[in-house]
């Protein structure tokens, strides 16, 4: 039990960092992703193209590479490098938010496609503006369709936060590794695994509630 506490206590500190990256990424990448979804549906070809390329690059390259690029690569860029120099934690949040925005953009795009054209037509003949139609009619239906995929993606996001050890952010896995190396027992890995499971349990519960709310 004592050993459990000596392993767990530093990990609790790491858990704060893990949750920080997780929550910031979640709350930034969802609206950002929806913004990209709207861009892919814009009338203007150039806006379309920007969003398509962004999504393609973010989904087509490893998240680990993006992480390394933001933290180690961008500061080395000529001219703009100094402005694009970030500490470990913000660098991790930036890379994760951009990457996950691309995935959420694709999920929301699918969700929008699932909304029947008749919903737009009914809204129009009732006199709703485009904005009112989007907010009051389309988005709630998009959310229902997207929720299961968003749940999956969110669970993946939590697990992916472990990748940030590569740029030396001290989160849960970082402390687990340190303990395992120090004490030559895998116990700390099990504790870390348990922490991820507990958080994912909570995430799953929250999304279950949301899915119930959006079950119409």
């Amino acid at each position: 039990m004592d050993y459990f506490m000596t392993v767990l206590l530093p990990m609790i500190g790491g858990l704060g960092v893990t949750m920080g990256i997780f929550l910031i990424t979640f709350f930034v990448s969802i609206p950002l992703g929806f913004g990209f979804t709207l861009m892919t549906r814009s009338r203007f070809k150039i806006i379309n193209a920007i969003a398509e390329v962004f999504i393609y690059v973010m989904r087509g390259t490893p998240l680990m590479l993006q992480l390394l690029f933001v933290y180690f690569g961008m500061p080395l860029l000529p001219v703009i490098g100094p402005i694009l120099t970030f500490n470990r934690f913000p660098a991790a949040c930036i890379a994760f938010s951009l990457n996950y925005a691309a995935y959420f953009a694709e999920i929301f795009r699918g969700g929008l496609l699932a909304v029947d054209i008749g919903q737009y037509e009914a809204s129009k003949v009732l006199g709703l503006s485009r904005f009112q139609t989007m907010v009051r009619v389309v988005i709630p239906q998009m959310i229902r369709v997207s929720l299961p995929s968003v749940t999956n993606e969110t669970i993946t996001l939590l697990k992916d936060t472990a990748l940030v050890t590569i740029i030396g952010v001290a989160e849960v896995l970082h402390y687990a590794k340190a303990a395992v190396n120090r004490d030559a027992t895998p116990f700390a890995y099990l504790v870390a695994g348990l922490l991820y499971l507990v958080i994912n349990f909570v995430i799953t519960l929250v999304f279950k509630k949301l899915e119930e709310k959006y079950d119409f």
Binding site: D116, G118, Q119, E121, A122, K124, V125, L126, G127, L128, Q132, R136, V137, P140, Q141, R144, Y214, F216
Partner: protein, 252 residues
Amino acid sequence: MDQHVIQVNNLTKSFDGNQVLKDISFTVNRGDVVAIIGSSGSGKSTLLRCLIDLEQADGGTILVDGKALIENGVSVSPSQIKKVIAPMGMVFQHFNLFPHLTVRENLELAPKLVKKMKQAEMDAACERHLKQVGLFDKIDAMPKTLSGGEKQRVAIARALMMEPDVLLFDEPTSALDPELTGEVLAVMQELAEEHMTMLVVTHEMGFARGVASKILFMNQGVILEEGTPEDIFEHPKHDRTRDFVSSLSNKD
């Protein structure tokens, strides 16, 4: 003051080279119930949808309450379009209720957002129109719990909430099981008796014959024949009209 509620002159519409409406002209007077009949693909839906800007005509003129939606092939400005189509409501084949909203919320969404109606006023109108379609007990139901006939009656009530001068119906009973069409047609008949101006695309010959004041028979993008139910059903001028009418009437 003998202004037509709807006046259409020389309307044309193509979908990528396929001319679907060819030189359509007709008028609708206040209180008219116009049944638009014709075989599938003859352009009935397209015509109805052009009137309320769900499709944009290529040529011709549409006047609603004397105000142009399109004049000699030139559409008016988007803000003007909104104003011109505002006095019209539409009921769709597939109801298009908002699935995430209760019956009450379906009815009250547009009055609240578009007309900024007061809650008490909306609730009163909601109650009145739901009673009119016989569904007041479903006020808090979700659409998915309703039968097709009930959904369509809610859709009609929702359209009535905006107090339209004209109601457009595109095959309102075609998606319903046969035993459910009657309840919807009964509501429409009551509206007709209250002198609601209606344009109804339908295959229900009983309704066209019994309720319509005027029938347009469409064939391959033109109004081949136009007249009273008596004209169309008893003395059709064209063989096509007779064939169409008798083929559908015999089904019942």
